[in-house]
């Protein structure tokens, strides 16, 4: 199952990852990071496809994507 790693302190809560995620699993948590932003978090890793769209949309390079097993590369990036 793929895993989205959020670098919490880099996130500015802009929600672009949420808009980009086809599975709509990237939500803003209610906790705040040091700068006071509600940082992003993957609410249901099990539905994650590992498509990397969230990380591609993120302006803060706050997301890293991991997968297990084969990666279905929907597009080259």
């Amino acid at each position: 199952m793929p895993k989205i790693q959020v670098m919490v302190e880099r996130c500015k809560g802009c929600e672009r990852c949420n808009d980009a995620c086809p599975q709509e699993i990237m939500k803003m948590s209610s906790d705040l990071n040091a700068k006071g932003y509600k940082f992003a978090s993957a609410v249901d890793q099990s539905r994650c496809l590992g498509c990397r769209m969230c990380a591609i949309a993120c302006p803060e390079v706050a997301l890293e994507v991991y997968i297990e097993g084969t990666q279905y590369e929907f597009f080259a990036y």
Binding site: M7, C14, D19, A57, P59, E60, V61, E64, E68
Partner: protein, 255 residues
């Protein structure tokens, strides 16, 4: 676990000063990734402009210049001409490039300088607080055209990619966007192509990247994406306007 998307070595670890949702960050990342993937980081010298990306020298993980407003193409010319083995790029906003720096960009492109320009078009002056830019859309409000850009008074927005592609010498001119993941993937391909041409010492390369400015447009990132698509993209069509392959025999783009 296999990592399939990781932080690029082309960027420093510093968090950026850009507003939440501003796609300068996305464009920075793409340029950093391309420089890393083409193995150019250790020979790259970037030129930061004056504008929102004035602090770009803090973010690109390579040697960097800070240029005066509008003059990055001239600084890049000096650097590249004197050390041709360097990979040189300018990263400029629309005020920097299309207003005060118009002569510099037109002539650098027309001389076929062998560097790459990343031109971020967000239709506004960001860093100084949202003034009208040469690329501000008709009727778009800005702090210096509060009633909306009046084309009768100040003329129509400038299409820089088309302007430069009308010159004979510049051989790679493309316009892409960074507002959705889909467009970002295409944008990165164009940026990579530009740096690849430079790596081959082939020609001047120019990539205009449409970008959102939630703060000064007064919209959320999501609404900004919609505004960009509805307002900017019809006026600034995306695509590769010029490629060296298109006119191999003729001028081949450069000296």
């Amino acid at each position: 676990m296999k990592k399939i998307f990781s932080y690029t070595d082309g960027l420093t670890k510093k968090t950026t000063h850009y507003c939440p949702g501003c796609t300068h960050g996305v464009i920075h990342r793409m340029v950093g990734e391309v420089i890393e993937e083409l193995g150019l980081r250790e020979t790259t010298v970037g030129v930061a402009p004056v504008g929102c990306s004035v602090l770009a020298y803090e973010y690109f993980n390579c040697d960097m210049f800070e240029a005066s407003h509008g003059r990055a193409p001239a600084v890049a010319t000096g650097a590249k001409r004197c050390r041709p083995n360097l990979t040189v790029f300018t990263y400029q906003g629309d005020g920097d490039l299309a207003s005060i720096g118009m002569a510099e960009i037109v002539h650098a492109a027309n001389r076929g300088e062998k560097f790459t320009t990343i031109f971020v078009n967000n239709a506004i002056y960001g860093m100084t607080g949202g003034q009208m830019a040469p690329t501000t859309m008709p009727n778009q409000r800005a702090t210096t055209c509060p009633m909306g850009r009046d084309v009768e008074q100040v003329g129509h927005p400038i299409k820089v990619a088309e302007l430069l592609s009308s010159l004979t010498t510049p051989a790679y001119v493309a316009r892409v966007s960074s507002h959705t993941p889909e467009e970002t993937v295409k944008a990165k391909a164009a940026i990579k192509q530009a740096f690849q041409y430079q790596k081959e010492g082939r020609c001047y390369t120019f990539v205009e990247v449409l970008s959102i400015c939630p703060t000064n447009w007064g919209l959320s990132p999501r609404e900004s994406n919609i505004w960009l698509e509805k307002e900017m993209m019809p006026y600034y069509p995306l695509g590769v306007l010029k490629r060296p392959e298109d006119f191999e025999g003729e001028t081949d783009g450069g000296n």
